[in-house]
Amino acid sequence: MPEAGLLAILPMNEIVFFLNKVVIAGFIIGSVYALGAVGVTLIFGILRFAHFPHGDMMTAGAFVALVLLWIFPGAGAAVGLPTAFVLMPIAMAVTALFAVGLDRTFYRPMRKAGVKPVVMVMTSIGVMLMMQGLLRLFAGTGTRQLYVDTDAKDIYRIPLGGRDLVITEPQLLLFATTIVAVVALHLFLTRSRMGKAMRAVSDNPDLARVSGISIDHVVRTTWLIAGALAAAGGTLLALDVTLKPDLSYNIILPIFAAAIVGGVGQPYGAIAGGLLVGFSETLAVFNWSVLLRPLRPYLPEFIEIPAKLAFVPTEYKIVVPFFILVAVLIWRPTGIFKGRVNI
């Protein structure tokens, strides 16, 4: 069998390692970024400011899930899925309402006063600090698990000759949720009356107003969607790794990068941007020596393969989204999907 022969000469161990470390990890982190970036990009499109507390909204959503976990610890066992995932829709609803409340309390008064966008951004930073203070006050600074004892963290190992391809249950759920959310959002924005109204406001708020579209409704819907998706992203990320109150801050820069790369105001762009940033990160910190080592016998003597050959040392991972961001801002400020930058 030729296939088997081909498989035999391929360094399967290393390739699977690559798949685990780059492809799967990139998809996972990219999906989290995407879920955050969709909210950021919607808020930017409709309200025209960069929403800094978005990462904290994700964390807050995960904490809502945690609290629900304490209240209904048996929910997961009944369905056979992680409890936090089963309770996630409730957490999404709560966070969505919370986001609307945030807007009412802090952003709407500023909007009504007609302040400049930069003041909105600064207000949002104030909100971010408040949320971080509160989160750490109530949750401490330690890490937590989003699992109850009855949950089993299923790990799927797919043997591919040699090493196994490893995917965990929360990763699958995260990926599935992202796809469902994106498709649903796409249908909502292109088919529903409210979704079209949101696009209209993003396109031209003044004309939307004279067409009789209620800006208040659109703004409220925007916050509902952004809040719900943030909660989903936060909960799923916390399921995959752990729940930390300061999670958000490490994630907001890549999320902004994803939103801007995808083109501000472009939900599909945010998905692509999220995956692009996620893959860039995993590719950049990947140790390429692993893939080169099998080639050792075929390479001339004088070429040494260093023990570690990564584009960027892991400690500098934060640099990757930043460079993507700056590069896009300079060379193609409308994003790869042509968003709206000005106004």
């Binding site: 009356r193 079209k196 696009r199 939307a208």
Partner: protein, 239 residues
């Protein structure tokens, strides 16, 4: 009783008044045209009428109801519709979606209205799936007017519908406006192309310095040498 009656309107942005007593009255099914030099308050009058600008003094009565300073989204329900001069389409949305947005306030079916708009503006039908931002200026203007027609307004407000259009398109847009009017929609428009617009107007209003300078039928104003003077100056004979 006139369909629309604006009486002695004063208003402006912030402190400075731009309108210093504008009065406009037109009947249902009429075309009213507002002309005048730049800065005379023509567009401002439309904005004040449509609730986009605070009216400080004076009253707006539409179909017997006082609607002074009513919010635009409410005025749409009253039967008014407004087409701004610039930025008057949703550029990333398709032509048909633009029309749907015009019908946003309607809860009933509006399919027949979309067909009616395609009837007024046949070129749009072929472009229904195309983003409005990719259309030519004249077609964009058609989308803008079509969007405003989707609420089945009794009165359509147009702010310089032919600005920036080539003469060929200008004539076409004017033809369409007449057709819309013949279908029973009152029109109040601001026009820079004064002569052409006055020629099709039932009522004409010449504004200057935020006040009515001349008022009359379109034909009267066209024949008035003083009106001509305020446009080309010096009373040139160009009739």
């Amino acid at each position: 009783m006139p369909l629309l009656e604006m009486t002695n309107i004063h208003g402006g942005y912030g402190g400075a008044n731009i309108l210093n007593g504008v009065s406009i009255a037109i009947d249902a099914d009429q075309i009213g045209v507002i002309v005048g030099p730049n800065g005379a308050g023509k567009s401002t009058t439309l904005k004040a009428l449509f609730g986009l600008l605070k009216v400080g003094e004076g009253s707006v009565v539409f179909d017997g109801r006082t609607v002074t300073n009513m919010a635009p989204e409410k005025l749409v329900l009253e039967g008014l519709s407004y087409v701004p001069q610039e930025f008057n389409v949703f550029p990333t949305m398709s032509v048909e979606e633009n029309l749907e947005m015009g019908a946003y306030v309607r809860r009933d079916g509006f399919r027949h209205l979309i067909d009616q708009v395609y009837g007024f503006f046949p070129p749009l039908k072929d472009k229904r799936r195309q983003p409005a931002g990719e259309l030519s200026g004249g077609q964009r203007q058609m989308v803008a007017i079509g969007r405003a027609l989707m609420t089945e307004p009794r009165l359509l407000l147009l702010d310089e519908p032919t600005a920036g259009l080539s003469p060929r398109y200008m004539g076409e847009i004017f033809d369409r406006i007449i057709a819309v009017n013949k279908a029973g929609v009152g029109i109040l428009m601001v026009e820079q192309n004064a002569r052409q617009a006055l020629a099709l107007a039932h009522r004409g209003f010449v504004l200057a310095g935020g006040q009515n300078r001349f008022t009359g039928t379109g034909a009267e104003l066209l024949a008035d040498p003083d009106v001509a003077k305020s446009f080309l100056g010096g009373g040139a004979d160009h009739a």
